[in-house]
Each structure stands twice: as C-alpha cells, then as structure tokens.
Amino acid sequence: MIRVAVQPAAIDVAGELDLHDAGGHGATASFVGRVRGEGELTELFLEHHPVLTAAGLGELAHRAADRWSLAALTLIHRVGAMAPGETIVLVLASSPHRAEALAAVEFLIDRLKTDVMLWKRERFADGREQWVEPRAGDHGRAERWD
C-alpha cells in the first residue's frame, strides 16, 4: 500500500502509523521532520505547486517501491504556514527486511530535499522574512542514490 499526501492540515503521526500498520509488517522505519524554533523563528511557510508537488512525491514513492521490497509506504508533506515544533514531513516504510525499510526512508528524505517542488520561507520574531537557500550537502546526499 502506497499512501502519498500533500496537505495544509497538521500531520497526525500516530494516526498515520495506525493506518500504515494495518498489515502488521516485519520492520517499519520512519522519519519525522519538524519545524525547528532556532533564531527566533516564529513561522515556517511551505509553498508548493498545485499539481507537480504531489506528482513529484508520488514518483519518488514509486521509485522507492520499485527499488526496495516494501510492504507499505507512507509519504506525507505538509504545506502552508506552520509553527515551531509542528511536523513538516512524515515518511514511513515497512518491509520484511529492516535494511530495506531503513534504506527506503533514507532515500526518500534525501530526495525530498532536491527533487520535489517545495520552497520554505522563514519568518522571525522581528518580522523579517527569508526564503531558505538549498544547502550544498543536500545535493551530495541525494546523489548517493544515483
């Protein structure tokens, strides 16, 4: 079962885990990314493309499912405005084999940073806003999978 979503609503991690777990798979690896509250950050805004963002997530999910033996895969990305501590992204991968579940999660989180149409803007306590620049390391990590 592959579940992919792009949503402005808060991500319900426990609820998604329940949904994903329905099959009782051997090993589930996961990744939860949350808004960090560093440097007086008050809001993170995530811009997306109405069509291509979901398409890009779906393509990544299917690429992972082709590459590893996965019993279930969940890939949820939040968009819009969110506060420090809130969940931006959730990846769950289950497999009979732990190494495959872990590798799929790592692949997805690395590729999310470079392959999917999403842009972060930070707002700070003093009202200043800035678009997040991609980090050089993100591309290095993503290319490990080529």
Partner: protein, 85 residues
Amino acid sequence: MALSVSYFAWVRERMGIADEVIDLPAGVADVAALVGWLAARDARGARAFAEPERIRAAVDGVMAGPGTAIDGVREVALFPPVTGG
C-alpha cells in the same frame, strides 16, 4: 503563441504575480531564452531573473533545463531551487 507562465517562491514575490499568459514573440525558443526575455521586459522581471543560474523550470509538468525547447508547449513554471523535506 500564448504561453501560461507560473512563478513560485521568491520568483513569484519579485514578479508580484503567481501566473500570467504571455504572447511570446517568435525566436524565444527555449527556457533560457524565455528567462532572458522576461528579465528584459520590465523592472520586475529584471529583479526576478537577475541571476538566471538560480532559476529552475518545469515545462508542461516535467523538470526542464535551460536548453529545453518551449515551442508548442502550454505552460512553463519558473522557480528557485527547491528546499522541501
């Protein structure tokens, strides 16, 4: 030729609009040429596309490079490098 062009993130902010329909002059044949044409068109375009090497594009929903042809396509999205995840 009528072309839908959409802008995202700081490209959208600098352009002041999210999308527009452009009547593209003949000779603007690829993504790089479109970016150059927009930069030359007005002050907003000059600001948004001052550094063309920082611009990424999708043509009819598929990621594209500067040399991707835009002849006959319906829409082009222009945006900065992505920062999701």
